[in-house]
C-alpha cells in the first residue's frame, strides 16, 4: 500500500519536473527585478514582459508598435523554417541513407560534407545575401544548409548500423531491395533518423533568426532586431520566449507526427 502511493507520488512529481527549472528561473528573475539588483533598462520586470507579450500576441493592430503582429511574424517564420527544413530532409535523408549503405556514396560525400560542416553557418550569411538578397530566400537557404548536416550524418550512422541480421532475415524471407529499404532499413534506422530530424529542426530555428536579423520586414528574428534598434528590451525578451516556446512545440509536433505515421517511431526502444 505504502509502496503504491509512493509510486503514484513520484509519477505525479515526474509530471512537474520539466517545469521546475523555468519556475526557479522566473523566481530568480522576479527577485532580481524587485530588489533592483539589475536595472529595468537591462532586464525588465516579468510583469512588463507579460504585458508586452500579451499585446504582441493578442492585441489589436494600432494599440502599439508591435500589437497583433504575432500572427504575421510567426507565419512568416514558420513558412521559412518549413521550407528550409523540408529541403534539408528531402536531400539529407536519402543521401545520408545511401551513404550509410553504399561505400561509394560515402567515399564521394564524406570529405566534402565534413569540410563544409566545419564552416560556421554565419559565414554563409554574406554570400547568401549577395546571392539571394534580403528576405525569404536567404533565410530558407541558411535553414536548409544548417539542418542538412545533422539529418545527413544521423541518417548515415543509422543506416550503417542497422543490425545486419535483420537484412539477412529479410533476404531469406524473399524481400527484395525496394521493400527491404522501406520495411527493414528505415524502421531499423528509425532511432537515428529521429535524432537527426530533431536536431535539424532545432538548428533550423537558430539559423532562421540569423537569416531574419538582416532587415526583413517580418518574422520573429526581424521583430527582435527591430526592437533592439528602438531600445524595446521588453520586446526582445518576448521574442526570445516566443521562439523558445515555438521551438519546443514544433519539436513535440515532429515527434508526435513521426509516431503517428510510423510504427517504428511509435515502438522505438
Amino acid at each position: 500500500m505504502r509502496k503504491r502511493s509512493a509510486r503514484v507520488q513520484s509519477a505525479g512529481a515526474a509530471r512537474f519536473l520539466p517545469a521546475v527549472i523555468p519556475a526557479l528561473f522566473l523566481l530568480g528573475w522576479i527577485l532580481v527585478s524587485a530588489t533592483g539588483l539589475v536595472p529595468t533598462y537591462l532586464l525588465p520586470h516579468p510583469l512588463e514582459i507579460a504585458q508586452t507579450g500579451y499585446t504582441y500576441v493578442l492585441g489589436q493592430p494600432g494599440e502599439g508598435p508591435y500589437a497583433g503582429r504575432f500572427i504575421t511574424d510567426a507565419g512568416a517564420s514558420l513558412s521559412r523554417v518549413g521550407c528550409g527544413f523540408a529541403a534539408a530532409v528531402g536531400v539529407g535523408l536519402p543521401l545520408g541513407i545511401l551513404s550509410g549503405r553504399l561505400s561509394v556514396v560515402n567515399g564521394l560525400m564524406s570529405t566534402t560534407v565534413n569540410a563544409l560542416r566545419a564552416v560556421p553557418g554565419i559565414t554563409w550569411l554574406p554570400l547568401a545575401l549577395v546571392w539571394f538578397g534580403i528576405g525569404m530566400k536567404t533565410s530558407i537557404f541558411l535553414v536548409a544548409l544548417a539542418a542538412f548536416f545533422p539529418i545527413y550524418l544521423n541518417a548515415a550512422t543509422g543506416a550503417g548500423q542497422v543490425n545486419p541480421t535483420f537484412l539477412q532475415a529479410g533476404a531469406m524471407m524473399g524481400v527484395k531491395r525496394l521493400r527491404g529499404t522501406f520495411a527493414i532499413l528505415l524502421p531499423g534506422a528509425m532511432p537515428h533518423l529521429m535524432t537527426g530530424l530533431r536536431l535539424g529542426l532545432g538548428i533550423s530555428w537558430a539559423y532562421l533568426v540569423l537569416g531574419e536579423l538582416t532587415g526583413v520586414p517580418n518574422g520573429l528574428g526581424a521583430v527582435i532586431m527591430d526592437a533592439r534598434m528602438l531600445g524595446r528590451i521588453d520586446m526582445i525578451v518576448v521574442g526570445i520566449i516566443v521562439i523558445a516556446v515555438i521551438g519546443r512545440v514544433s519539436d513535440q509536433l515532429l515527434q508526435a507526427g513521426m509516431k503517428f505515421c510510423f510504427k517504428s517511431a511509435r515502438r522505438m526502444p
Binding site: 539477412q168 532475415a169 533476404a171 531469406m172 524471407m173 524473399g174 520495411a183 524502421p187 510504427k263 515502438r267
Partner: protein, 263 residues
C-alpha cells in the same frame, strides 16, 4: 551399441528423395595478411524430410557452412544444389532460424509472423487466417499483439520458427537456435521442433555443438572436424522417438559421439 549406430557411407546413387546436395564446398576467408581456410571439401546429401544435425566444436566452420547453404555467403569453390539447382542467393525456399534474436522489434508478434507473406499476392483475409494458424501452431495464440521486447527468449524463437514455417520452405536452416535459452526452454523448443517436424515434414539442417541435442533431434549426425572443417563422419541415429535421455541406448549414442568429437 552398433544396433543404433552405423556409419553411413556417402551415397553414390541418386536418391529419389534427394533435396539438398552439397558438393566439394570450400571456403577461405582472407585474414590480416593471410588466408584462413574455414571449410575444405564438405560433401553431404539431405533427403526430403530428413532432420540432419551438424555437430562440431565452436569455430569449426559449421555456421559458415549454414550461411553458404542459406546463400548469405558465396563459397570459394564447390556448389550447393537445392533440388538440382545451384544456390546463388538467399530465398524463402531455404529459411534460417538465427542464433540471436532476429525478430523485427518494431513489429508485433503477429506482424512478424506475417512479414514474409506480404510480398505474396494473396487475399488479406487468407493471410490473417494463416498467421493465426501458425501463431497457434507454435503455442503463442495469446501473444499475437505483444512486441518482441515484451516476450521471453524461448517465445522469440517460437515466433522465429512461425515466421519461416508460414513460408513453407523446402529446407529449414537452424543455426544453434536454442543455444542461448535456459535448459527448460531448450527442452520445450526441442519438443516443439520435433512435433512440428513430424507434422509438417520439413527437411531440417540443424547446427549445434551440443551432443545431447543432436542425439535427441537427428536422423543423421554430420560430425565436423576442427578448422578447416570437413564432415569427418556421418552417423545415423536410429533410436525410436520420443527419445529418452535417460535410456541406455541414448547414452550409448551420446557417449560414442562425445568420443568422436574429442578425437
Amino acid at each position: 551399441m552398433s544396433r543404433h549406430l552405423r556409419p553411413m557411407r556417402m551415397p553414390d546413387r541418386k536418391t529419389t528423395g534427394e533435396i539438398l546436395r552439397v558438393e566439394g564446398l570450400r571456403k577461405v576467408f582472407p585474414t590480416n595478411g593471410g588466408f584462413l581456410p574455414v571449410l575444405k571439401e564438405v560433401n553431404f546429401l539431405a533427403e526430403k524430410g530428413e532432420l540432419i544435425c551438424i555437430l562440431g566444436r565452436s569455430g569449426c566452420g559449421k555456421s559458415t557452412l549454414l550461411k553458404i547453404v542459406a546463400g548469405f555467403v558465396p563459397p570459394s569453390s564447390g556448389e550447393v544444389l537445392l533440388k538440382g539447382k545451384p544456390v546463388t542467393e538467399p530465398g524463402p525456399d531455404r529459411c534460417v532460424i538465427f542464433q540471436e534474436d532476429a525478430l523485427f522489434p518494431w513489429l508485433t508478434v503477429r506482424e512478424n509472423i506475417g512479414f514474409g507473406l506480404r510480398g505474396r499476392h494473396r487475399k488479406r483475409k487468407t493471410k490473417a487466417v494463416e498467421v493465426e494458424r501458425y501463431l497457434k501452431l507454435v503455442g503463442l495464440g495469446e501473444f499475437g499483439d505483444y512486441l518482441p521486447s515484451e516476450i521471453s527468449g524461448g517465445m522469440k524463437q517460437r515466433v522465429a520458427l512461425a515466421r519461416v514455417l508460414i513460408l513453407k520452405p523446402e529446407v529449414l536452416l537452424m543455426d544453434e537456435p536454442f543455444a542461448s535459452l535456459d535448459a527448460q526452454s531448450r527442452e520445450e523448443m526441442q519438443d516443439l521442433l520435433l512435433k512440428l517436424w513430424q507434422e509438417l515434414g520439413h527437411t531440417i539442417l540443424f547446427v549445434t555443438h551440443d551432443v545431447n541435442e543432436a542425439v535427441i533431434l537427428a536422423d543423421k549426425v554430420l560430425l565436423m572436424s576442427e578448422v578447416p572443417g570437413r564432415i569427418r563422419k556421418e552417423i545415423r541415429v536410429n533410436l525410436p522417438r520420443p527419445r529418452e535421455m535417460e535410456s541406455s541406448a541414448f547414452m550409448n549414442v551420446s557417449r560414442r559421439l562425445h568420443e568422436e568429437l574429442r578425437g
